[in-house]
């Protein structure tokens, strides 16, 4: 029950994007296509979990040692994993890598990733740190997908997914594709979409909290 609640907290009441407003930059910048945002979510999730795991091991061994040294270690580990993610993505998914550009290496200083890693390095229990990281990553991925779907539908009139069999991977929403609102794909569209969706999430969360026990 307790393990489950850590993950649910990351998805809902402590959602990194819509409640805590952490790690927003990639979510706003590369959420113009659904497929790109799915790759980005995967990269964030992997870097987040890996750096939290290794930072909590550092925290385990260096308990009571200098806080700055532990902070530096968690920063170094996060940077290493971000570099790994960048290189791996470039090798296995070159298209997605080109579309994501700067934002995968920038995960090294994403405030969500470094915040979680630092908390883990301070000596949070390994299991709890991992579950919290997993919850935060999943919560971020969910918001990311919603924002990307809204922006792509409005801005291009399509939804891009993986091609499977005879399905080309692109859903076309005919009335929107004929006259898309291009502004949704620009920077301003990202801010506005995130703002309105965050307001919606705040409303839903409050209603959920109000009706609950």
């Amino acid at each position: 029950m307790k393990q489950g609640s850590e993950i649910v907290r990351g998805l809902a009441s402590e959602n990194p994007l819509f409640v805590l407003f952490m790690g927003m930059c990639p979510a706003l910048a590369v959420s113009t296509r659904l497929l790109t945002s799915l790759w980005m979510s995967l990269a964030i999730l992997c870097v987040l979990v890996a750096s939290t795991l290794f930072s909590s091991i550092v925290g385990l061994f260096a308990r009571g040692k200098g806080a700055r040294a532990r902070w530096l270690a968690s920063l170094f580990l996060t940077a290493c994993f971000a570099t790994c993610a960048d290189l791996l993505l470039g090798f296995f998914a070159a298209d997605a890598h080109a579309a994501l550009g700067l934002y995968v290496p920038l995960l090294a200083v994403n405030c969500l990733v470094t915040g979680r890693a630092e908390m883990a390095a301070r000596g949070q229990p390994v299991g709890r740190a991992l579950l919290a990281a997993l919850g935060a990553g999943l919560g971020l991925a969910a918001c990311f997908t919603v924002i990307a779907a809204a922006r792509e539908a409005l801005g291009f009139g399509t939804l891009t997914l993986f091609p499977v069999g005879r399905f080309t991977g692109t859903l076309v929403i005919a009335p929107l594709a004929a006259s898309p609102a291009r502004a949704a794909t620009f920077a301003c569209g990202g801010f506005l979409a995130a703002g309105y969706l965050a307001a919606l999430a705040a409303r839903l969360l409050r209603r959920g909290a109000g009706s609950g026990p």
């Binding site: 407003f21 930059c25 920038l106 920077a187």
Partner: protein, 208 residues
């Protein structure tokens, strides 16, 4: 790219926060007090210019000769952490009041995607095709990008202080409203583009 073009590109046309969408978190949570916003903006600008210069040195003097360019993120992050400590120590001596007022912390500035983003953009040469920027160009690019951040921080802080006096729907309270303000500001910043740069340069008789 000319100096004029470099400054305008990094400060306005490719504004770090509103166009590149880097370092959004500190700006969205912009403090209501103008003095605090200015303090954070200046600290960011100084960090950006120093980090750009340091990154130029690391890239051309250490990583490129050794063929270790793929390790650039790790090297830059460690260099930025060191710079942030130095900066914190210096600020503690020179202006301890500022340090307390802004809630400034080394980790807060070093671990800032805006700073690393500017450094990486400089490493890629920004918009110019001839590879990375030179040392002085890196310094100026970092400083102008930082001034762009300062401008956005001040604008958003002023907007936020104004909105406190207005009635807003409850769901929009706080950060959703800041995000929407930033979106409208980004819409306004779309007016700064290459065409404007070319026009300004020709008006002033400068190479663009």
């Amino acid at each position: 790219m000319s100096w004029f073009g470099l400054i305008l590109t990094f400060a306005l046309i490719d504004n770090v926060v509103l166009v590149q969408m880097l370092g959004v978190c500190p700006c969205i949570g912009a403090p209501r007090r103008m003095g605090t916003a200015v303090g954070i903006g200046i600290a960011t600008a100084v960090m950006m210019s120093l980090a750009s210069l340091a990154a130029w040195a690391i890239r051309t003097q250490v990583l490129a000769p050794l063929g270790l360019e793929y390790m650039q993120i790790v090297a830059y992050v460690l260099a930025m952490a060191g710079l942030a400590w130095m900066f914190e120590a210096a600020a503690g001596r020179l202006a301890p009041g500022l340090l307390r007022a802004t809630g400034f912390s080394a980790s807060g500035v070093a671990v800032n995607c805006a700073v690393l983003g500017v450094v990486l953009l400089g490493a890629r040469g920004g918009a110019s095709p001839g590879g990375g920027l030179g040392p002085l160009q890196s310094l100026v690019a970092g400083l102008s990008a930082g001034c762009g951040v300062l401008l956005v921080l001040v604008l958003l802080s002023a907007i936020r202080a104004r909105l406190d006096l207005e009635w807003v729907p409850r769901a929009l309270h706080g950060l959703p409203l800041s995000l929407i303000s930033a979106g409208l500001l980004a819409l306004a910043f779309m007016a700064f583009d290459r065409a404007l740069l070319a026009r300004l340069a020709s008006l002033l008789g400068l190479p663009s």
